[in-house]
Symmetry: C2
Subunit: 355 residues, 2 copies
DNA sequence: AAACGAATTGAGACCGGTCTCACTCTACGA
DNA sequence: TCGTAGAGTGAGACCGGTCTCAATTCGTTT
């Protein structure tokens, strides 16, 4: 504390070598624990290192070995509980395997994502974990496959790109949720997602996220099977997070108001719940609500929210596992892991009895 | 896609230089945009770089310049919304200033924290953002100040260490919350935190987190001022996150049950709310509940939870700003920024009328 | 036209590790 | 007793940038 020590040059292998009176090569061997060194010398070197406060420079090591023991992860927004959990899952697997994580937020924007990926590549990460902002346009991801570095996508796939991918069984989950509402007697069900989309959704439109696309597919297909015409007009995209409230208001105030809402993620569910509360419409009596993701608060509301839970932690973890395997040299053809979702029934569904 | 390009050696400045028929030094100047280069040559080099698909190696650059343009951040757990928000705040400031972030979770454990810090230092981050697992023991942080790298603490201070720190006005916030309950007529108020502590809390004990310590201080002091004896026996620490329920049960089932709870963070509040729900005790009629942090769900429950909101995003952002200023060479004496909390009143407080 | 200064360029050291290769020294088998 | 395998060590190249310094080119000034 008395001498801040700023500006003091870092201690290097050469310094240690000099102190231990051996060559740089030998010191490096003793410290790096590779090659052959006599016990006596190893001791001497390690003592010297200890004394001088030697701290290895991981960058220099990366320069010569080519391995950085670092993974990059690009998420939409770390504040989104989904990404926070997935990141944690990935981080746990990573540190267990001796890797650490460089984190970037893309805000689901192509430009920010491209920049983030560029930085990660420049930092020579050993591999990249990405929840791609666009499932349609692989431009941002091209540089990483061109760099030869392994890439694993999670939460969303990019059909044009043949790379390892970890996703959830969204279509099945959506069918299940939709069926649940249908069975309760609902016919006018709104599906809400914040995903960006040009204009109103029409059946067959391609969406920027395969996971939302699958949910929409499952939703509209199940509706169609139940004989509900024009299922696509119940799909509401582009919901800005702070705009869900007006959207819900519009949905409920229309000529043929929806009697149930499927929220595509927990943030939308939260906004929808809040909207219903503010508008004075009672859940589930006047409006049924179901959502994807078992956010912690969903059991706290009155009523609790019935949700399709995703193994979010595991999505991140599995993605990291896959990536680390690739880094280890696994050359098998790319795989797509599809993880199951499961239903958690609470009290937010009731028959659509209008008061 | 037809040629995977794996194993292809990275394109370097030398390659570009050769292609552009200039020296390595000149090519580097043209690419790195430093030094003087004629327009003609610059063009030629940049075209060559483009053609070859040159991507700078940030590590090599760091090796010679000594700057990594990377900040390290060590949080308790990125899944904790508090840390997620603070991290986002820091990340935003960081990228705006041209830095990126290496993220580590300490799980509030000394060993994991030490390791994380070690890795970050090895990676030669330009500076470190840490929410220290222990405010008492500066051991883990010593290496970073010894390395001469700037360090900024957030959420908690470490009194023994004179470094920049960003915290919230926790004592004031706690007083305010306590007074609110007192004014409603409560006298037996439980304060619950998950923070680790040896044995039961006694007035004057030092806590591992200054932020919790300040809250406890504010709490007990306010209680004492109101003439409540033995305020310290209402302080419950060591609450394992999944153990809050039994704790609440014990608190409510004792001879002199608490009539109100102050949750030290939103996760505890969540658990407490859930516990009350499961135990069938009604909030606020049978139990008042207030908490720190304005988690998004707190306005969704019935009733909403009255909370002391912290500017979490700003805590992270300000910490990053401070850090970047230090990295820029600011040698002013260390500062401690104290950010204000503000009360958000909802409906979770009522007089302690036992039914 | 000679001299001078600024702009441009090239050669090569350097950052801090790893790793190859050659050399020395010892122990063991033929 | 000699040859040789193998352990232990040192010298120096290398990774891919930056940067210093000297050399060259050019335009001006007098």
């Amino acid at each position: 504390m008395s001498e801040p020590g700023n500006g003091r040059r870092e201690v290097t292998v050469s310094d240690v070598a000099a102190a231990a009176k051996v060559s740089k090569a030998t010191a490096a061997r003793a410290l790096g624990d590779y090659g052959a060194v006599s016990d006596a010398v190893r001791d001497r070197v390690q003592r010297a290192a200890e004394e001088l406060g030697y701290r290895p420079n991981a960058l220099a090591r990366t320069m010569s070995t080519g391995r950085s023991h670092t993974l990059g992860i690009v998420v939409g927004d770390i504040e989104n509980p989904f990404f926070a959990q997935a990141t944690r899952g990935a981080a746990d697997v990573a540190v267990a395997a001796g890797f650490d994580l460089i984190l970037s937020n893309s805000d689901e924007e192509a430009a920010a994502e491209a920049k983030a990926i560029g930085v990660q590549l420049a930092k020579r990460v050993d591999g990249l974990l990405v929840a791609p902002a666009s499932s349609i346009d692989p431009t941002n991801l091209r540089p990483v496959v061109e760099s030869g570095r392994p890439l694993v996508l999670f939460d969303r796939a990019v059909p044009e790109l043949e790379v390892d991918t970890v996703i959830a069984a969204n279509r099945t989950g959506a069918r299940r949720l939709t069926r649940l509402l249908l069975d309760a007697g609902h016919r006018r069900i709104a599906f809400i997602s914040t995903i960006a989309h040009d204009g109103d959704y029409r059946l067959g439109d391609t969406l920027a996220s395969t996971s939302v696309a699958e949910r929409v597919d499952g939703f509209t297909a199940t509706l169609a099977e139940a004989g509900v015409p024009n299922a696509d007009r119940y799909v509401h995209l582009n919901a800005r997070r702070d705009g869900v409230e007006v959207l819900v208001q519009r949905i409920l105030g229309s000529a043929e108001p929806a009697t149930a809402i499927i929220a595509s993620d927990s943030l939308v569910a939260l906004a929808a719940f809040r909207a219903a509360r503010r508008l004075g419409v009672s859940i589930p009596d006047e409006l049924s609500l179901v959502a994807f993701d078992d956010a912690d608060w969903t059991e706290l509301t009155t009523p609790g929210v019935t949700v399709m839970a995703q193994p979010i932690h595991e999505i991140g973890a599995e993605a990291a596992r896959l990536l680390i395997r690739r880094i280890g040299g696994d050359g098998a053809p790319p795989v797509t892991k599809v993880l199951d979702q499961h239903l958690v029934e609470r009290g937010s569904i009731a028959p659509p009895g209008r008061p």
